[in-house]
Amino acid sequence: MNDRQRRTGIPLVPSSTNKSARRLPCPAGPHSALLLISPTWLVLGLLFLVPLAIMLWLSLQQRGLYGGIVAGPTLANYIRSFEPGYALIYARSAWIAVATTVICLLVSYPVAYYIALKAPPEKKHLLLALVVIPFWTSFLVRTYAWMFILRDQGVINSLLMALGVIHEPLTLLYTPLAVMIGQVYAEVPFMVLPIYASLEKLDRSLLEAARDLGASAAAAFWRVTVPLAMPGTVAGIMLVFIPSLGTFITPDLLGGAKGMLVGNLIQNQFGPALNKPFGSAVALVLTAFVLALLWAYATWAKRRGEEEAL
């Protein structure tokens, strides 16, 4: 999960207390403050900024024979990345990311709502553990497990055939449906946890107040629960949407060769296509797009915070 936080820059649990933490004076002066954050800069620099700089440099070079590099500098890779031929891949990626996010939201909200507000208190920890337990197994292994479930002789087809529901195996694996299932399966916990955190903080007496003032259970949900859980909901949407945009393992293993996404395109350039400069350019375009989304999110969160602080 930490990996996810680092990649997307969004805390899993949206904090409402950063207002008070904003201006804490450092007791030993500004220089020691710099010293204190130096490990952060070291980690960010070595693991994030340096690789990014390498990518940036690569993206401005030209492709040589057999995966080599011919010194640029050129913008050709960026220009190529906007060629109409790639539009379908981008559109498909955006579609997968949007669909994954919407389905995850629809699946996760009731789950988070149940754990936060309805489940008996002594069961909450167990239920949360069940949400997190898939992380104990490698993502790759879990995706392979889905191949065994979805393939022609897989669990679903064997079961349906044994029950006599179908006589021919259904084609499930290597379809867009399989990609969708794998994506939603992988991303659901990242939607459940922040929504849960928001709902858990919700003051129950506000729901009683809404009921007391005449609101039905549904009206209380839409007028009180949903707006107050919005920070967690938006965090969940970002946490699911951004990684879904760049996913490549799920479409690679479950989607086969047909449904190439931007993640696979990038991976291919570094692998079989032997074109690291172009791969870097596409990756950076994707990064820029994600940063723009994050900036929009930060602006929204800041405005909301200011509204609350007014």
Partner: protein, 323 residues
């Protein structure tokens, strides 16, 4: 139109086998300011929640203005609540909070002026655009009142309405609440553990203990004529004799033996500002509490020290028999 607005008829409520409310039968009259008074865990809040519809009775009936509330959900009951910590919606402005329930009312002609009227009534005019976290405790209280009263409930429920305020503000709000209740003429039922607050605000009080109503009556009745040991103790009458009780402020200290006075020894005194509380032990070992006015006249009593002999005198008519 019946004089009774709210009736509890043999109401029972248990939480995991612990009785929270046990056989409560109680009438609350139209237009009165009624207090449910008792220590924490006595069932007073559960009683309030049974009226609001947040809890359902295990047995018995809650009858509001002649209608059995058994099948009426909370949002359809003609009662509104001022919550202990006000439960204002933090994402809505003062005006939006006050207007929250209006859309569920059948006929509202001119909601804006009604909101404005309400804000004026609770002296919050001009603050309609604020969010709850920009308000002081007293202001939040007023918004909570406006939000509930705008719906013209048959009964307004208040859960420890003043507990979250500091002492000075509490005194102010007590007077405001009292005035407000007179002005709107709505039946107020409030829960408190503070007997002084109950006496100040309420017309009538039900003193509760262990899920049961110990005594119901006017504030004066409950204060002057407690029926049970518990009520007497809870209302501060601590001088128990066999079968009767005498309030400490009804007793006088005498430095010489007078007829009918009980001989005691001074054990201590507590200066309380307007009054001084004396502790005196009788010859048969009973500890008495006597409250004397600090009237500023230096007399023999005010010079008494621990160990001094003193006679405690009271009148027969101040002896309150207990059940």
């Amino acid at each position: 139109m019946s004089d009774v607005i709210l009736r509890f008829d043999a109401v029972e409520k248990h939480f995991d086998a612990t009785p929270a409310v046990h056989g409560v039968t109680l009438d609350i009259r139209r237009g009165e300011f009624f207090a449910l008074l008792g220590p924490s865990g006595c069932g007073k809040t559960t009683l309030l929640r049974l009226i609001a519809g947040f809890e359902q009775p295990d047995a018995g009936r809650v009858i509001l203005d002649g209608v059995d509330m058994a099948r009426v959900p909370a949002n359809e009951r003609p009662v509104n609540t001022v919550f202990q910590h006000y439960a204002l919606f933090p994402h809505l402005t003062v005006t939006e909070n006050v207007a929250f329930g209006l859309r569920y009312q059948s006929k509202i002609h001119d909601p804006e002026s009604r909101i404005e009227e309400m804000l004026q009534l609770v002296r919050m005019e001009g603050l309609g655009d604020r969010k709850p976290d920009q308000l002081s405790g007293g202001q939040k209280q007023r918004v909570a009142l406006a939000r509930a009263l705008i719906l013209h409930p048959k009964v307004l429920l208040l859960d420890e309405p003043l507990a979250a305020l500091d002492v000075k503000l509490r005194k102010e709000m007590q007077m405001e609440l009292k005035t407000l209740q007179r002005r709107v003429g709505i039946t107020f039922v409030f829960v408190t553990h503070d007997q002084e607050e109950a006496l100040t605000l309420a017309d009538r009080v039900a003193v509760m203990n262990l899920g049961k109503v110990e005594q119901v009556g006017t504030t004066e009745e409950v204060f002057e004529r407690p029926k049970t040991k518990f009520v007497a103790e809870f209302m501060g009458a601590v001088n128990f004799f066999d079968g009767f009780v005498v309030r400490p402020e009804k007793m006088r200290l005498r430095v010489t033996a007078v007829e009918g006075a009980v001989e005691t020894k001074v054990e201590g005194k507590v200066y309380q500002g307007g009054t001084t509380q004396w502790l005196a032990r009788t010859m048969d070992g009973r500890l008495l509490t006597v409250i004397e006015q600090n009237d500023g006249v230096p007399d023999a009593v005010s010079r008494l020290k621990s160990g001094d002999r003193v006679w405690v005198k009271w009148e027969k008519r101040h002896e309150v028999p207990l059940q």
